[in-house]
Assembly symmetry: C2
Homo-oligomer: 264 residues x 2
């Protein structure tokens, strides 16, 4: 079976998820759509996010994908069920694999969650963890400066260390042994976060957790020749490339502009 | 003549302009509209910003204002001419008064400008300064972390000082004697900025420059009883209040929700 992934995010953050998939899985085809003209999704209403997610999905499905990945915490939280019931192809988000991995990994039953204000306010990770194991305690904290620090490529290490310390100090006091990085941007600060919380705490990157879960579904009959990468964005491709290459960790191929609005 | 101001901004930043007006001018009536549902304007196209600005203006004009203030650098830069020719009431922006004040104030002919990426990229301040006096040299720098630092109410002074130093270091080397804070958020960091560049450099807040210019147009025949303040936003009023009171420096009265989209 040839595997052709369609992946969307509200912008560039999903590239860390794509990175995890391409690094862990056998050669596959990937079509990535970054909805940069309508980013960010976090502050928008549930109905709007579902509508955008449906539009993004149809855009990708028309390109003959056979698996859809929501590489966006907001869309995974609010639109996954609608998309799963609407479309015939499998739809995967970033939240469930991270929750599964964290619940299996914790030894002392104390899990920390860091993310954007919108994700933390939604309590989606807490709810899913409690549904899986009501005995697990969760502690969460929003880190609103992480996304601008990362997107700006801010290089002053002293500033980054101080900000990471400010946000993680309350969680460190809770004696957590597992920490979910519940924002697709945060893997770019993983080194700082791990250093601050200490090596004994397991930091879970939801993109990696998703790649591990897909890997478990079995071997893929794929030749290296069938591998491909395509990128579409709804706003300026050049800005996406400039910031995106840091997220993806490799040079990006040609980035095409998708029509906006996707449907009138 | 009764003076009734209509003021709009893409969000909360314009509250620093409103603060300057209320502090400097005799008692007046103010209606403020924050387009929080469609913020930020910076990354959007010129046509979209003009359309939003026209909608915001009509919303305010229908409330019987007799003077319109664009308390937003992006709208002042892109929509002022269109609005001035479209409407019969006077339309004022934040850029021209700051340019005027800076050109009069500089002694060595070296003016610095700091703002968001979108404002700095537009070169609007440079162009207007050069049009006024081609001999003046300008030096500009974007400070993309200032807005998130301010909006989050981030309190770690060490972090703020380090970020301010990082952004201002290149301008300090240019021997400027005047610095325009070309973003309505920046007055909230004025103390840090002034400390970093030194007391001998004049920091110009465009909101204050605008208030001074309006003040010059003469005395207003206003009684204290006719003073009033009304607030409308296009998204959640409570979030606006929470962050807005820091910008305005006083408690805010009831904030009303305006319809979104303003026109279908």
């Amino acid at each position: 079976m040839r595997r052709r992934f369609g992946i969307f995010d509200s912008g560039i953050g999903g590239l860390t998820v794509l990175k995890s998939l391409t690094e862990r899985l056998p050669p596959s085809s990937y079509i990535y759509f970054g909805d940069t003209a309508r980013t960010p999704y976090g502050p928008k209403s549930k109905n709007t996010i579902i509508r955008y997610s449906i539009e993004n999905s149809i855009f990708l499905i028309e390109k003959k994908i056979d698996l859809l990945v929501l590489a966006c915490n907001t869309a995974s939280s609010l639109a996954l069920d609608t998309l799963s019931s609407l479309f015939s192809i499998p739809v995967l988000g970033v939240i469930d694999p991270a929750v599964e991995k964290a619940c299996c990994a914790t030894r002392n039953g104390k899990i920390g969650i860091i993310g954007t204000k919108a994700t933390i306010r939604s309590k989606i990770y807490e709810k899913k963890i409690k549904a899986k194991n009501p005995k697990i305690e969760t502690f969460s904290g929003a880190c609103p400066l992480f996304v601008p620090l990362i997107e700006e490529g801010y290089r002053n290490k002293d500033v980054i260390e101080l900000v990471v310390r400010d946000y993680l100090a309350p969680l460190k006091k809770k004696n957590i042994d597992t920490l979910i990085l519940a924002c697709t941007h945060y893997p770019l600060l993983k080194e700082y976060i791990q250093k601050e919380v200490g090596r004994e705490i397991l930091c879970i990157d939801p993109g990696e957790a998703l790649a591990e879960e897909i890997e478990k579904t079995g071997p893929q009959d794929l030749s290296k020749e069938s591998a491909s990468l395509e990128f579409f964005v709804s706003d300026d491709p050049e800005r996406f490339r400039k910031v995106g290459e840091r997220f993806f960790g490799h040079p990006l191929p040609a980035i095409k502009k998708a029509p906006v609005p996707l449907f009138s």
